[in-house]
Amino acid sequence: MSRKILLENGDISGIDQFDIYRQHGGYQSVEKAIKTMTPLEVVDEVKKSGLRGRGGAGFSTGMKWSFLDRKSDKPRYLVCNADESEPGTFKDRYLMEKIPHRLIEGMIVSSYALGASRAYIYIRGELMWLAKRLENAIGEAKAHGLLGDNILGSDYSLDLVVHPGGGAYICGEESALLESLEGKRGYPRLKPPFPAISGLYGCPTVINNVESIAAVPWIVTHGGEEYSKIGIEKSSGTKLISASGHINRPGVYEIELGLPVEEFIYSDAYCGGIRNGRTLKAVVAGGSSVPILPAELILRTAAGIPRLMTYESLSDGGFQTGTMLGSGGFIVMDDTTCIVRNTWNFARFYHHESCGQCSPCREGTGWMEKVLHRIEHGHGTPKDIDLLVDIAKKIEGKTICALGDAAAWPIASAIRHFRHEFEYHIAHPDKITDPDHVYQPMGTK
């Protein structure tokens, strides 16, 4: 059975209430840190844990914290990224809804470690009821002396603010998030400077995903070394995976990193296999932005080694035959799925969400969507497939923020692995005009 850290005690009724959470060991880490540890000692534990950012990029959290400019005389900020809008990703929302105090506790210890006296949770605007839930939890923590002035009688004070966004995907990109938090348009900033040097209001800032921050209390309570023993090698700890698509048991699962992909898909403890007894066709393993892989490559690497749910194993083979763990949005598709239609759907999303600041993404995402729309609606030409690859290349690596890459990768990978399906669409416009058409494998009529 899998180890529970983030969702520990998640099934106890009333765990969203302060008293029950506290009775089950909640806020221990705040006590331990503030009473017995210096801020830098907390940073050290997080470094030792090997925790990597759970927002998508997988950058070492301890390392990020140690980049924070502590010499500047400006205030320092911690900002929690709760904007979660990547298609296929719904794990932060689950965590905040189930155990809101876990995030609040994480925010307090992390802010203490970073020396921030003001911290923000920037939450996706559509999750208004969760913003209220978090505010309620903040109120409870304050009433018990765990937040606000002189926490637990120490001279450390923290003001924690929940800030709802307006529902734009781009505001999940950390620098656009900061702009939005400052009350401006959510346009990504040019980097460098990085937020650790110049972030919110030009002050040193750390931005972390909800899940990253929620892992910190356990690390502080049990020690970084203990955490690093969970999982394997450079993928330590547990990860929330939001599983969706054609599986028997969609939902959010906390897994120990290192679990074989095959077990995750087929075991009844997790996805429970493919719906209606059908066969697996493809998986988007880490949220819509990461490359799609066909069944044979998601279960095994190109070298035939069983793939594991780790940063390293999923990216084995690079983009040619691998993908990324990303945010843990695990989208499973069975053999009835039309890859062209799915790719068009993703393209539509990125076109809609491009902020429009830089020309390759602004113009290229729209172009790709139009071409895919044509192919999907029976008006494609054979040249269109290479054209899509070409447009994706014109965007990738040339933009201000990673949304450009995120728009290019799903399309390039779908063509890389499912080219025949695009060709089939172009050659057989008559077979795909039904808007609900399912993919007819080649050879069947």
């Binding site: 040019l190 969400e353 020309s359 602004r362 113009e363 995402t365 290349k393 040339k398």
Partner: protein, 304 residues
């Protein structure tokens, strides 16, 4: 001072210089094209991506290349940095791609555009673009919008360089326009239709690299290459009073700000000088104005 090498040519520049500026110091003609950056406008640049270069070596202490092509307008030099500009296939290819993307939704209505002949996008397409495109979708179109008697806004031609927004932010009292909408529906506008009217608004016309913002008082008066640019000045209480008069005979067809050899406005002028003093006796004429190297106008005039 720091040493930097661009396409094999070494130059010493002040610390805090951008790669673009260093390249311009070597030779403005071979420097990367810059459609959104404008020296006089703080915070500009980084958006159009035409100025991308390859940093093959960041510095002797960090000899690795930068992982991605860097926007030269906003990337600062480091001592010992090595950069590839026109020598790198990758850079030229990327630039060609960006130019194509800037053009797919552009109306290409040069024959009826007042900017023709002094349009940065024309020059860019000519020097860095591909001959053909595979774009066959419908081009984006915006409904016409009025922003007053002095400035003509043609949103269809806009490449969203944001320069006019910086002008309004940094030069005029109160910004009345900005970018509305998102993604490829972004447009320049005032939200609630209003005239942009203040002493320095005319500079938006000069910084616009394309024909999206043009001088209404000059509209369809003449192709620019049929008029003769003369440097002139007058005593003005609002601005420097240094301008360029565009003459046809003794008639002033329009007045604009002066530019340096990469086409950037060097001194902003007020609307009185630009729109309300179109009579030769109000100006002290200095002589032919310097014209940017790639302007078609330079075909008819000897630059000074």
């Amino acid at each position: 001072m720091v040493k930097i090498t661009i396409d094999g040519i070494e130059i010493e520049v002040a610390a805090g210089t951008t790669i673009l500026d260093a390249a311009r110091q070597i030779n403005p003609e071979t420097a990367p094209p810059a459609m959104c950056f404008h020296s006089k406008l703080e915070g500009s640049g980084g958006k159009c991506r035409t100025c991308l270069v390859k940093v093959t070596k960041t510095s002797p202490s960090n000899p690795r290349p930068m992982p991605k092509l860097a926007p030269s307008c906003r990337t600062f030099v480091e001592d010992g940095m090595e950069v590839e500009n026109n020598r790198s296939e990758e850079v030229l290819e990327a630039r060609k791609g960006v130019v194509e993307l800037l053009l797919i939704n552009h109306p290409l209505d040069c024959p009826i555009c007042d900017q023709a002949g002094e349009c940065d996008l024309q020059n860019l397409a000519f020097e860095h673009g591909a001959e053909t495109t595979d774009y066959q979708e419908e081009r984006r179109r915006f409904p016409a919008k009025a922003i007053g008697d002095l400035i003509q806004l043609q949103m269809n031609r806009c490449i969203l360089c944001f320069r006019c927004v910086y002008v309004a932010d940094q030069l005029t009292d109160g910004r009345h326009h900005g970018v509305l909408g998102r993604g490829d529906s972004s447009e320049i506008g005032t939200y609630i239709e209003a005239a942009i009217d203040n002493d320095f608004s005319g500079n938006m016309i000069d910084v616009c690299p394309v024909g999206a913002l043009t001088d209404r008082t000059f509209r369809f008066k003449s192709r620019v290459w049929f008029s003769k640019p003369m440097a002139a000045h007058r005593t003005c209480e609002k601005c420097c009073g240094n301008a360029v008069l565009w003459l046809k005979g003794n008639e002033i067809l329009r007045v604009s700000g002066r530019r340096n050899d990469v086409g950037e406005v060097t001194e902003f002028i007020c609307n009185t000088c630009r729109f309300d003093t179109k009579s030769l006796h109000l100006w002290e004429v200095e002589g032919p104005a310097r014209i940017s190297r790639d302007s078609v106008i330079s075909q008819n005039h000897t630059p000074s």
